[in-house]
Amino acid sequence: MMQGNIWISPNTVGFAQSMTLLLRFQLQSSFGRAMFAPKDSPEHPNSNSQFRGLKIVLADDDDVNRMVTKKLLEKLGCQVTAVSSGFECLSALSSSENSSRLILLDLQMPDMDGFEVATRIRKFRSRNWPLIIALTASAEDNVWERCLHVGMNGVIRKPVLLQGIADELRRVLHLAGESL
């Protein structure tokens, strides 16, 4: 009647972990477009059980971007430490209490760019801890190569979308040998 949808997101042993009820009100269908057009994904991207507790450091010098990306990550269940520069990122990591699994790094920061930060991190830490994913608006072909070259594990294009972040996080974690 309301052209709605119900789906259940199972956890890894198949028990219903969360239920999502989607009601299609006219208000929302007029912004329609891709809002409720899901990509081909078995799990609903908004399930916050997927990355629950994943500790992430987010480094982006832009206030607006940082706020949006942080919210996106929290929506996915991550625990986020947001910083606004390369220097802050490095000091957040060097703090002994910090056990962040993953860093999301804007490539174009004014003081120290993402490449420099990654290079410094990889100097003293293994390739898989912490994992590093670049955030970039750049459409250049060789960005991926450059990122890999300094020891990063992934790339996310800006502007960030929920599905884009979820997919890349999942891919990178999977490659590092961690199942969700």
Binding site: S30, F31, M35, V64, M67, K71, K75, Q108, K158
Partner: protein
């Protein structure tokens, strides 16, 4: 049509027009999807932050571009920032104006830069205006719905 329904219809039509005219794009919808009980004013907060940052950036641009010897790298830096944040909130036309602006920065074309700054300002004030109206209408609708009118 009763009061609330009328307001809702107007709000819908207004919002629709913003997407039709490409003043806003899909990224704005993404912001709306992020709003939830834990952050019920998320969209408003992000947009407000965007307004603050943009005001500062436009001021800096104004200063930088009226210098005797324009530092194009500096100008480009500001435009890059504005491009990023406008893109993040879905301010489609502002973002596009920034893209054009950056081309002129790269070419070190003063005239082009001056024109682009004007264009960016125009698009920015347009989206600011529209979003302020959007939030007002949203608030009106919310108030009217809550007061129990049918």
């Amino acid at each position: 049509m009763d009061g609330v329904a009328k307001l809702r219809k107007q709000f819908l039509e207004y919002t629709n027009s913003l997407f039709q005219e490409e003043i806003l794009d899909q990224q704005f919808v993404q912001l709306q999807q992020l709003q939830d009980e834990s952050s019920p004013n998320f969209v408003f907060e992000v947009v407000s932050l965007f307004f603050e940052d943009s005001k500062r950036l436009l001021n800096e641009l104004e200063i930088a571009i009226t210098q005797e010897n324009i530092d194009f790298k500096k100008v480009d830096g500001y435009v890059h920032q504005l491009k990023g944040s406008s893109s993040s909130i879905g301010a489609h036309r502002v973002r596009n104006a920034c893209v054009a602006f950056r081309h002129h920065c790269e070419a070190q074309n003063i005239e082009g830069c001056l024109q682009c700054l004007q264009q960016v300002k125009t698009e920015y004030f347009l989206v600011k205006n529209k979003l302020e109206t959007f939030f007002k209408m949203e608030q009106q609708l919310s108030t009217a719905s809550q007061s129990g009118s049918k």
